[in-house]
Symmetry: C2
Subunit: 471 residues, 2 copies
């Protein structure tokens, strides 16, 4: 067996989630528990938490799936037009045909135009767009492309701690060197270039650092980076000849007053040609997050910038081996980057639905921070964006000892107890990485507001009880 596979860890779907699934089965079989349902706040899966799909997206997908419906006057004209355009760009006018490996050309054009609008007109070329099977696929592919060397010249990849564990898992799988840089919890999980430099210099002793990964807005930490910070990071990447991987899947998920999403690409280009024509970069987006939450379709794209044409040719070849990303996911992405316009019949409903989703998320972000910060022993940064909170928990020494006795890391012990006693499934902070001696958990803010209140209340009660038990 591949030893790198053994080293892979992926906490978001780890032992605690497996136990949650088991408990759900036990509940179904009538086993008595102190709760009647398991609430899974472990994963950023909006629909699973009750968020309704956006009508327009699903109408077009139904039309693409079963084009006979194009004759049906129940569907709005703009939905039909979009569906027809997608079908016309598919082999044999069917979403059942393989597409080009890089993705359907007219969808890549739409993506490029979307990026241009987002970035105030900075040009984007469809040739630099690669559609993907969710952002996960694109991230793993890009890492695979960049990693090489052996021993001390093995590629080092800088990732934040805490991080989204796809990164550490992919690096383990590739046998690349993970270089951890720490986000500053005391400054709302911000990123500091001095810390990047510290991590880089330390890593130079034992590997060849070549790649810097950033998640903005942040998972699991929910921060939104300032424009200044992004500039600093880009300057650092240029100085140190690092390839920038900007994970921007939460680009629409910004809630906090005064926060704004700045794409790495836009900032890069605004810094002038010295930067915009030299820094190599890839940016990732997905249909899974934002207001759509369409995780199951596995849609996404990456844009590559300043990539050496030879490397790009290799990338194109590499993605061809798996033939193509799922076409329904590509179609969905097309609608996301090319939504109804003000003069189209679906516009009003679309905007209403999108606004409602984002407003509810903003409200839940606020509520989560507020309630957690009333609990002694829990401290929680503002959820500026994304879909998660990563509060710090103070655990009594006796609880830490008890966990060790049970052979578990302390926050895993805490989360397991919470699951068994309250039916709430969170992911321990250790699954994302945290400073030695600190403990956290990650919770999504996705449950419907009334359920979220219950969840927060239950965690509160559990935390007090747990703290008491071990005092």
């Amino acid at each position: 067996m591949n030893p790198n596979v053994k080293r892979v860890e992926y906490a978001v779907r780890g032992p605690i989630v497996q136990r949650a699934v088991q408990i759900e089965k036990e509940l179904k079989e009538g086993v008595k528990k102190p709760f009647t349902e398991v609430i899974k706040a472990n994963i950023g899966d909006a629909h699973a938490m009750g968020q309704k799909p956006i009508t327009f997206l699903r109408q077009v997908l139904a039309l693409c799936s079963y084009p006979e419906l194009l004759e049906d006057n129940k569907f709005p004209e703009d939905a039909k037009k979009r569906a027809q355009r997608i079908l016309d760009s598919c082999g044999g006018h069917s979403i059942g045909a393989y597409s080009a490996s890089q993705g359907i050309e007219c969808i890549r054009q739409d993506v490029a135009r979307y990026i241009e609008r987002r970035d105030s007109g900075i040009p984007s070329s469809p040739d630099n767009i690669y559609l993907s099977t969710g952002a996960s696929d694109a991230i793993v592919t890009m890492l695979k492309l960049l990693v090489c060397g052996e021993g001390r010249s093995r590629t080092g990849v800088m990732i934040s701690i805490p991080q989204y564990p796809l990164y550490s898992a992919a690096l383990a799988d590739l046998g690349a060197v993970q270089i951890s840089y720490y986000l500053d919890e005391d400054k709302c999980w911000s990123l500091d270039v001095a810390e990047l430099r510290r991590a880089l210099n330390a890593a130079r002793q034992h590997c060849n650092p070549r790649v810097l990964c950033i998640i903005n807005p942040g998972n699991p930490t929910g921060q939104v980076q300032s424009r200044q910070c992004i500039e600093d990071v880009i300057r650092f990447a240029k100085e140190e000849h690092l390839f920038l991987m900007a994970d921007e899947v939460y680009q629409d998920n910004v809630y906090a007053e005064g926060c704004k999403f700045h794409s790495f690409k836009k900032v890069l280009f605004e810094m002038g040609p010295e930067y915009s024509s030299t820094v190599e970069m890839a940016s990732f987006h997905s249909t899974s997050k934002c207001y759509m939450g369409e995780c199951g379709f596995r849609g996404g794209y990456m844009e590559v910038i300043n990539m050496d044409p030879e490397v790009k040719a290799q990338l194109t070849k590499l993605v061809s081996v798996r033939l193509c990303p799922p076409v329904p996911g590509q179609a969905l992405l097309d609608l996301v980057v090319n939504p109804p316009q003000p003069d189209e019949p679906s516009y009003t409903t679309f905007i209403k639905e999108r606004t409602a989703v984002l407003a509810a998320l903003a409200e839940k972000a606020r509520l989560t921070e507020e309630i957690f910060n009333t609990v002694p022993g829990i401290t929680c940064n503002p959820v500026q964006g994304a879909m998660y909170t990563f509060p710090r928990i103070t655990l009594p020494q006796k609880a830490i000892d008890k966990a060790k006795e049970e052979g578990q890391v302390p926050d895993m012990y805490y989360c397991m107890r919470l699951l068994e006693e309250e039916g709430i499934c969170l992911v321990p902070g250790s699954g994302f990485g945290q400073r030695e001696g600190t403990f956290h958990f990650r919770m999504t803010i996705l449950p419907p507001i009334e359920k979220l209140k219950v969840v927060l209340q239950k965690i509160r009660e559990f935390h007090l009880r747990f703290t008491q038990e071990f005092s």
Copy 2:
């Protein structure tokens, strides 16, 4: 850059296909050519070649995409029932939710029941089923799991020559050792255990052979293996402690009189417990082929048999990193393994459509063999199954010399000329591997019958002209 990525080659989407896409653009722009359209017979993409989707499948997918249609009395009851069942097994009743990484449980149950029916009752467990993003994904994942070691202890993987280039590409990417065994063209591309043994013994000098891959029915060669041959292969795998990977994506595509699909699993179990409880195996299936031809949905599954529970746990962890296969593809797979039953309203149409597709393929298989074998310098084995023919072409020495002058392998030169002169896109045999000094091309039998006749006729004329030119 990753040097393994550089070594990857994937002919099915290689330079000839890129040139075909270019020519299509030129045609659109009004550039004059000796033909008016490019016919792409390079890839097994049924819908792109005009095959119509199966109505039932698409109705259910439309219902799953836009559940408001469940209220619509235009849809048959069985389609609604299937859609409702799939939705009920999705988080939040939405195909937009992530599924379990191994795939939706009720669909894995349906797959297991399908396998049991196919294999005359030999038991199958949903725990051994992993849904995937097309068969490509499952094959790559399984290879990744199995490959390890360095230098002379590096894992060797046996693949047929000619092969489907996903295999050689994945092995290059993983840095595994490819062990080539040759199919016997003179015996209708059959597989001979003596040749397996020769290849294995030779490979033992420089690597650690651990895996044996078989494609049945064969791509690119179109053969269907006899039950006897499969037994021999299984016996060989047991003796040599090889993990068997059975690529059975064409299991419904069997046309020739006297040929029948035998699943490796069924034969394994019929050989008795000595085999059925020891030989480790994985079998792959896909929604892309058979009568469905739904390539764009990227649906598929693998069944693992006798896999060490620890390795299986690693596999489960590994697939969790990319979260889940596309849910629309999973839904589609569910319909394939659980199609309309005789007492259901969609049955008649479903059977009619399925039969028509398979009958047309059988007719095209026959026709292809027949016409090619009338051309002096082309010899073609019967297309017993799958969707391809891999005829051998005799090239004049002067043509071979000319190709070398142009820096091309001779069959690439041949296929490029065919593309430029007739607008027909085939894949040169060198992309799949062939015995030194022999030349082939692969052509799909998918074009509609009238178009296929034209294609065959054009290839005939081209071949005669080409041969003449270089005589």
